[in-house]
Amino acid sequence: MDEMKLEKALQRIEEIVEKLESGDLELEETIQYFKEGTELVKFCTSKIDNLETKITQLTSQLGSVEKEEN
């Protein structure tokens, strides 16, 4: 799941909630979806919590190849 993009994960969560809300699932399926949904919510939350800005200055005719952190 590490490779999964945030956007995909968020879409999948929406899908799962919609499926569950439709209500005509077996108990076992419901629990399966619940597990998947909960894991995805955790995944997205930690992905957002772990975001970090790195500022990179590229080279142009203006010069300098510096790299500064935050």
Binding site: L10, I48, E52, T53, T56, Q57, L62
Partner: protein, 348 residues
């Protein structure tokens, strides 16, 4: 006698109407430079005047609905640039320039160039909504093309760090002066060819119209149009519109606003996620509770069919049968006694 057929002779109206069609059909909106003469503002609010150069004069009409946007007071002798359409007034057979905009020639030149280019690119379809790229909702790498020393870049960084801290890649560019367009073009090319990012912010802080003019460059417009990476423009202030804004994929009024449009708000995102989690939990709890109720009903029904309860009901039926046999036996005994007593009677 003239040797001409009647059908070959035109009426005056026909000639004027024909000329009107030719003139108005072949001349689209155009720009004319000249000097104002015979300037009259009619009571109706319409303005009538002529523009002339050394050799010629052109009659002009500037209707109220257009002249109300005039930002200076024109007078006879003023050099102006006019935008408008040539129209023919059929009753008098005279043609005139129907003015839609008037610029003072000195400071108006930039504006005229701008309008010209805007019209040209618009006609080419370069501002078409269908061509605009969708800006990604959750970018991971953001490209910024702006001056490295200006406040605009700091503003962009601050907004991104606060809302959704992802990587910022700055292509340092000149944002004013003669070489600025070239350097901005290099930025768009660099991200498209050498350093892929999810979205590009093209920004510059506020300035005079002349300062922002680098963003009205035709080649820059074409480069933005060609870009495979969506471009958000944030140039100048709310009121400033440049050609880059028109051709870009999404316009923001300022550099900070461009940054806001480039990234989602992580606080909001996390709140939504929490909401999703509680929805999930609620639905599952509900489902589990429903299942428990169903289960207890089912177990009642199953118990009713269990071997014990079936045995019990057999037992009961057996008991009943035994009882009925006993009754029958008793009745039989009584009958037997009756018969015996009758037989005794006969025998005696």
């Amino acid at each position: 006698m003239l040797n001409i057929k009647k059908e070959e002779i035109f009426s005056v109206s026909e000639i004027n109407s024909h000329i009107k069609h030719i003139v108005e059909g072949s001349l689209s909106t155009l720009f004319v430079e000249g000097e104002i003469a015979n300037f009259t503002r009619h009571r109706s609010g319409h303005i009538y005047f002529s523009v002339k150069d050394l050799n010629s004069t052109l009659r002009c009409v500037f209707f109220r609905s257009y002249n109300s946007y005039l930002d200076f007071k024109p007078e006879d002798g003023d050099k102006v640039i006019l935008a408008g359409k040539v129209t023919v007034f059929e009753p008098s057979g005279q043609y005139q320039l129907n003015v839609t905009k008037m610029y003072s020639a000195g400071k108006g030149l930039l504006q005229v160039e701008f309008e010209k280019l805007k019209k040209k690119l618009l006609d080419e379809g370069m501002f078409a909504p269908e061509h605009k790229l969708k800006v990604p909702s959750y970018p991971e790498n953001i490209g910024v093309i702006t001056s490295p020393t200006a406040a605009a870049f700091q503003d962009i960084c601050n907004v991104i760090k606060r809302r959704y801290p992802v990587n910022i890649n700055l292509f340092p560019a000149l944002t004013q002066g003669e070489r600025a367009p070239e350097s901005l073009i290099a930025g768009v090319q660099y991200f498209n060819e050498k350093f892929p990012v999810d979205v590009i912010i093209l920004g510059r802080g506020g300035g005079s119209q002349e300062d922002l003019f680098s963003f009205n460059d035709e080649q820059l417009a074409r480069e933005i149009y060609k870009s495979k990476i969506p471009i958000i423009t944030g140039i100048g202030h709310e009121i400033d519109f440049t050609i880059a804004d028109f051709v870009g994929d999404l316009r923001a009024p300022t550099p900070s606003a461009a940054a806001e449009l480039a990234v989602p708000d992580s606080k909001e995102l996390k709140m939504n996620l929490q909401e999703m989690q509680s929805k999930l939990t609620m639905i599952v709890n509900h489902k589990v509770m429903n299942s428990k109720v169903t289960l207890s009903e089912l177990s009642k029904r199953v118990q009713a069919k269990s071997p014990e309860s079936q045995l019990q009901s057999f037992q009961q039926r057996l008991d009943e049968a035994v009882l009925r046999f006993t009754h029958l036996g008793q009745r039989f005994t009584r009958k037997k006694e009756d018969i015996e007593s009758i037989a005794k009677h006969f025998n005696s």
